[in-house]
């Protein structure tokens, strides 16, 4: 399953770091962050609840880039 989320981040490299962090989160099969459109597209693994996974994704993203936001 794929879902798109709006994000808020200031620099392009930070967006890349968020993508890395999201990819490494358990339950996420793949993630793409587009800095230009400020969107994060997350592909979840089978049987994962997007809501709980996204909480983790947000937590991991905050760790790599303090000044970011994902609108869940």
């Amino acid at each position: 399953m794929k879902k798109t989320y709006k994000i808020e981040v200031d620099c392009a490299n930070c967006a890349n770091k968020m993508e890395e962090a999201a990819k490494k989160t358990a339950g996420v099969k793949n993630a793409t962050v587009n800095f230009m459109t400020l969107k994060m597209i997350v592909e979840f693994e089978e049987g994962q609840e997007p809501k709980t996974v996204m909480q983790e994704v947000l937590k991991n993203c905050k760790k790599v880039e303090d000044d970011c936001e994902i609108f869940l």
Binding site: C11, A12, E20, N34, M36, L38, I41
Partner: protein
């Protein structure tokens, strides 16, 4: 500028003011240090905070950390002015970048501002504005001059001119009258029209296009992936080299008995850190692609991802479907031969005779005649299956049909040497000539093929299900290199696969089709381009690039946009990495000072961003 940016701007101005004033004061020692701390903290408190947070979260090597270490180091070495200046210029660079990105975001969303806000529904004689989402299929909506058509439908009342430029990039207005299908997103220019909707808002052209554009970001190009990977290794690598540069040479000198010159080498290491920031690359590459996709969509070319732009730029082979792509897919009278009376007269008789038929051929005859037909002039109509029609027009017997009809009537007829469907006409018992009906080639097809060749396409190929003779003639007219005719839809896939196997991996193959029956080929080719595909869902789904109208010149334009975009991407990669490497070497040798380092960081970024924005301008391509 938004609030955040304004705040940074004020801080920059304040810090710059303090630095200039304090540099002119004749102070020294601790007082000077204390004074310079004021602008330093004004300009860098957020960076320092982020750097500390980064260390706490074990994310050490980011640009905040680099800048913090570089400036604190410079200040400890006593270079107060340079320390503040580095931070100042870094902030100016960041501000510029965020402004430029915000601006191009806005530009592009304005280009794609086709979303209608409301639909007018008539209730009890009043027009009521409702959310287009709430309008059901088959509802009647009213569109006034100046408004956008919110939902796809058929005009039932009123005549007007439509501006389709937001959808197709085509500036020529289109006329619409009762019975015409209209697509959402067009702007109604002259008259009030009533439309019966044929789709829901979510299924209408506008929604589909917006959906496609907004999701175009999910596929990243190789260049983008390369840059994010590069940035990941580059920053730590430069940090380590900076540390080595600060420590190893002095130790070596110490070992050799010379004075270690710690200050000098630490300064060199700090310039290293300032140069190392990867911002220029990391921002300019996605910005170039984004602007390229935005510019293309403004020209009526929808690109589904930046990777497709990359592939399109490498395209060397273009394979066309014939009908509907190079030809109009509409059958028209293309000639009247061996006529014994005026062409107009023959056409009139033929059209009148066929006036009761709904066969595509009779439609083309009527269209070619162009005037209203008075069916009361026609009597005794007889349709002969597989042969044609006989009737009496103004009391004169007329026969319109194929060769078999002429044989049936014992008339000798003349064969046509050109490709197409031949309609023989006999008037008053004598052969009067034949009318040739064929699929007309699009006005721009020949020009498109020529321009493709000119821009370095190695081979153009045409695939068609048509008879070989017709296909060969069209190919010769247009200057297409190769033709494969009499193909079934499945054969087209096989042919494309053959072509794919015969070329080298670096040269890409594009397939262009009108989306009818060729969805499998569209997805099989390296890059599938669907034309005039607003009506066909399967084509939008299967294609990588969608041309909103059916002008073949758009293919050339798409390729040019892609090439320009890629050229700028490579320019930026070589330029940014090149300047940085040169500055790193100069810095290590002690030739480049902090000011050069600032240029290598901020200057390069500003130039790269400005260069990236050039991709947005595609009008003249």
């Amino acid at each position: 500028m938004n609030k955040k940016q304004k705040k940074v701007l004020i801080r920059i101005i304040a810090a710059a003011f303090f630095v200039v004033v304090f540099s002119m004061l004749p102070v020294d020692g601790y007082l000077k240090f204390g004074l310079f701390m004021i602008p330093y903290f004004v300009i860098s408190y957020d960076i320092l905070k982020k750097a500390i947070k980064g260390i706490r979260n074990r994310q050490v090597f980011d640009e905040n950390f680099l800048m913090a270490v570089a400036t604190v180091g410079a200040i400890l070495l006593g270079d107060y002015k340079e320390g503040v200046a580095v931070m100042l210029f870094y902030q100016i660079g960041e501000l510029f970048q965020s402004y430029a990105v915000g601006k191009s975001r806005k530009n592009i969303s304005e280009l794609m501002d086709i979303r209608p806000d409301y639909a007018n529904i008539e209730r009890e004689g009043h027009l009521e504005k409702v959310d287009p989402d709430e309008v059901e299929i088959g509802s009647m909506i009213v569109v006034q001059p100046g408004e956008k058509i919110p939902i796809d439908g058929v005009v039932t009342e009123g005549r007007t001119t439509l501006n389709t430029s937001a959808l197709t990039g085509e500036s020529l207005p289109r006329d619409a009258e009762p019975g015409d299908e209209v697509i959402s997103g067009c702007i109604n220019m002259t008259g009030v029209i009533r439309i019966k909707t044929t789709k829901e808002f979510g299924e209408s052209a506008v929604s589909k296009i917006l959906d496609l554009v907004e999701n175009s970001s999910s596929k990243k190009s190789k260049s983008e992936n390369f840059i994010s990977k590069f940035a990941r290794y580059y920053t730590p690598a430069v940090c380590c080299s900076a540390l080595a540069l600060a420590v190893l040479p002095p130790l070596a000198r110490l070992f050799l008995g010379a004075s270690p010159q710690w200050g000098d080498w630490v300064y060199r290491a700090l310039t290293f850190l300032v140069i190392s920031c990867p911002c220029a690359l990391v921002i300019s590459i996605p910005l170039s692609f984004f602007a390229g996709i935005g510019g293309a969509s403004h020209a009526g070319i929808l690109v589904k991802g930046s990777n497709y732009l990359e592939t399109l730029a490498r395209t060397k082979y273009v394979v066309f479907d014939k009908t509907g792509t190079l030809t109009r897919g509409i059958f028209e009278v293309s000639g009247i031969h061996h006529n014994t009376m005026e062409q107009e007269k023959i056409l009139e008789f033929a059209a009148l005779t066929e006036s009761f038929s709904s066969h595509p051929i009779s439609r083309s005859l009527k269209q070619a005649y162009g005037k209203d037909l008075d069916s009361s002039r026609v009597s005794d109509v007889e349709e002969l299956a597989g042969k044609g029609v006989t009737a009496k027009v103004d009391g004169i017997s007329v026969a319109v049909g194929n060769t078999r009809l002429m044989e049936y009537l014992n008339l000798s007829c003349k064969e046509c040497h050109q490709a197409g469907t031949v309609v023989h006409v006999a008037i008053d018992g004598a052969y009067a000539g034949h009318i040739l009906i064929s699929d007309a080639v699009k006005a721009n097809s020949e020009e498109a093929i020529r321009q493709l060749k000119k821009s370095g396409i190695k081979k153009t190929v045409m695939l068609t299900g048509d008879a070989d003779r017709a296909a060969q003639q069209v190919a010769a007219d247009l200057g297409v290199d190769m033709v494969y005719s009499e193909l079934l839809p499945a054969d087209k896939v096989t042919k494309v696969e053959e072509l794919l196997n015969s070329k080298s991996d670096k040269e890409k193959l594009a397939f262009v089709g009108d989306g009818i029956n060729d969805a499998p080929v569209l997805s099989r080719a390296d890059i599938g381009i669907a034309m005039g595909a607003l009506g066909s869902d399967a084509a939008i789904e299967a294609a990588d690039i969608v041309l909103m109208d059916d002008d073949p010149l758009k293919i050339v334009k798409a390729i040019r946009i892609a090439r320009k975009c890629l050229r700028i991407v490579y320019e930026n990669i070589y330029f940014a990495i090149g300047i940085k490497v040169i500055c790193l070497i100069l810095g290590a040798l002690g030739i480049a000072n902090m000011w050069v380092a600032i240029f290598a960081d901020v200057g390069v970024m500003v130039i790269a961003v400005l260069n990236a924005i050039r991709t947005l301008f595609v009008k003249k391509l």
